[in-house]
């Protein structure tokens, strides 16, 4: 990062020691652990030329996997946006029994290993599972279908939305809402025109985080997905399959697309964050 190093050289002395050392350790560690490996990945697919790269990406199986990953992640993020907002609102604004327990459970997807979540969801929604059996009877198949993927992605994405908007909701003073009421707004108008706009940037941030996580999710999805090529095979799984076939260029090409998507999401998040900070 030349920018930082340049600033460093022109740096004035600082009363608190350790800046150079700690920044140096930080940059060195980041380079070794994340930056160099990701740079290696970005360079890899061009070894077969741009044409080779495109050929890999436009194969029907790869296209279907990418479409499935991004599509189901987007739908899951939207589901989480709606329910996450409702859950966060309920948990911060209302007092009721077991509220604390429910609130603590929100973090379960952060704490529970994805593979564990994966086999649990799969067992739960299987034909003979607690939820799978009754759903089957009314004609809904979840396990081993794209619907199962959606369930897993909603599972892992929920805390991102809830935990992002909860602090904003908690900090929001009731005064604005009360002011709206004194000006003659109905409760619904107040919610739609005062509360929702205040929450909007945080809600967008949370939804984007949930989307980012869902696009790359692997562990919780593969057990319930069925993994049928071109139907329920997600992009990360296809990377794993290509690697097991020792098809490095094939794996790298999909990886690069996903990495570029990550960068784009990160950029969007930064812009959102800046809007959030300006409030």
């Amino acid at each position: 990062m030349p920018v930082t190093r340049q600033a460093d050289r022109r740096r004035k002395p600082d009363a608190l020691p350790g800046f150079r050392l700690t920044l140096g350790v930080t940059l060195f560690y980041l380079c070794i652990i994340t930056l160099i490996p990701l740079a290696a990945l970005l360079i890899q697919p061009w070894s077969n030329g741009f044409h080779g790269f495109i050929t890999i990406l436009t194969s029907p199986r790869v296209l279907a996997a990418l479409k499935l990953s991004f599509g189901s992640a987007a739908i899951a993020a939207l589901v989480n946006m709606v329910f996450g907002l409702l859950v966060a609102w309920t948990l911060t604004r209302y007092r009721f029994p077991f509220r604390r327990v429910l609130d603590a459970l929100i973090d379960l997807p952060f704490a529970l290993p994805t593979a564990v979540a994966g086999i649990a969801l799969s067992a739960l929604y299987a034909q003979n599972g607690w939820l799978g059996a009754p759903l089957e009877r009314i004609g809904i198949k979840v396990a081993y279908t794209p619907l199962g993927i959606l369930v897993a992605l909603v599972f892992i994405g929920l805390p991102f939305v809830v935990r992002t908007i909860e602090p904003i909701l908690a900090d929001m003073s009731l005064e604005a809402e009360e002011a709206a009421a004194t000006l003659g707004a109905t409760r619904l108008q107040t919610l739609a025109r005062i509360v929702l706009p205040t929450l909007a940037p945080a809600l967008m941030t949370g939804t984007t985080l949930a989307f980012a996580r869902a696009v790359g999710e692997y562990g919780s999805v593969i057990f319930i997905a069925g993994n049928l090529p071109r139907v329920s095979e997600i992009a990360p799984l296809l990377i794993v399959i290509r690697l097991e076939e020792f098809d490095y260029p094939g794996a790298a090409a999909i990886g690069v697309i996903m990495l570029i998507a990550s960068f784009a999401i990160l950029l969007a998040l930064n812009l959102l964050q800046r809007r959030l900070a300006r409030r």
Binding site: T22, I33, V87, Y94, A104, A115, A117, V240, A252
Partner: protein, 283 residues
């Protein structure tokens, strides 16, 4: 009977009840049921069978490997988190925003892509593959690769927790310590560390949960050698794919217990030391 008029910022009773009902149902079905399923499946054929499945050699080695990986990656990421937070929170420099985004990068990169990146560098056909083979160093399909992959996905946890907390605390106390004659390490250990210890514990706790439970990144670099390079989550997958459901869920129960322990401790920290951990928690 008194009829209480609703306060202006209060919602109608019906709306409250509906919201609470939906929230409870959503959390129970989506989050609680899977958790219960893990234990129910493990105990489906009795506690004895479940325990015997954990006592197999492969299960034990996977537990040991997971503990080793966590024991290596936690101190490294903690040290990194403290360094990053000291530089970012207590000093001003250009490129701070960029650096913060780079630290957060692993949160938005698929773990599988992270594992892939390491395979491309250290794998047999990777850049350093031939050189490593020459010196007989194994990274991929061995412990170093698993540690690296785990480090990648857990890099941001501690830093993420400490940076906002330390920005919030400012540098007044550190400046006071220096003006009273304290050196850098004295200032850190006697003034900064006591103020951030609960936040640090919080970050390490989350980092640990993720390190022990990481699956996507590890699965790519582990090579699935049973009794050797299978961490607990990878072993769970292997057993599940073999239709060894009791064994898979028994091992998964241990990980679920770890998750419950993490959640309990996390809630305790948030409740007891609310002022001493960062105000917002996003992961």
């Amino acid at each position: 009977m008194t009829t209480r008029t609703r306060r202006a910022a209060e919602d109608p009773v019906a709306m409250r009840l509906i919201c609470i009902a939906i929230t409870a149902a959503f959390i129970i079905v989506l989050l609680l049921l899977p958790l219960i399923t893990v234990f129910a499946q493990a105990l489906a054929k009795g506690l004895g069978l479940a325990l015997s499945r954990i006592e197999t050699h492969d299960a034990w080695t996977s537990i040991r490997l997971t503990l080793i990986v966590a024991a290596i990656s936690l101190p490294l990421n903690t040290l990194f988190g403290i360094c990053a937070a000291w530089a970012i929170a207590k000093h001003t420099f250009r490129g701070k925003v960029l650096l913060t985004s780079l630290i957060d990068l692993p949160f938005s990169v698929s773990p599988v892509v992270a594992g892939l990146a390491y395979v491309l560098i250290f794998g047999m056909q990777g850049w350093l593959g031939p050189a490593l083979r020459l010196w007989n160093i194994k990274i991929i399909f061995a412990l170093p690769g698993i540690v690296l992959a785990t480090l990648f996905v857990t890099v941001p946890f501690v830093a993420r927790e400490l940076v906002p907390l330390m920005i919030d605390q400012g540098r007044d106390e550190e400046e006071a310590a220096v003006s009273l004659g304290a050196g850098g390490l004295q200032t850190f250990f006697r003034v900064t560390l006591p103020n951030i210890k609960w936040g640090l514990l919080y970050g390490v706790l989350l980092c640990n949960a993720r390190a022990m439970g990481e699956f996507g990144a590890v699965t790519v670099v582990s090579g699935h050698i049973r009794g050797l390079t299978n961490t607990m989550p990878v072993q769970v997958e292997a057993l599940y794919n073999d239709y060894e459901f009791v064994g898979a869920f028994a091992l998964a129960s241990l990980l679920a217990l770890l998750a419950l322990f993490t959640l309990a401790l996390k809630s305790l920290l948030e409740w007891r030391y609310a002022g001493e951990i960062a105000a917002t928690h996003r992961h």
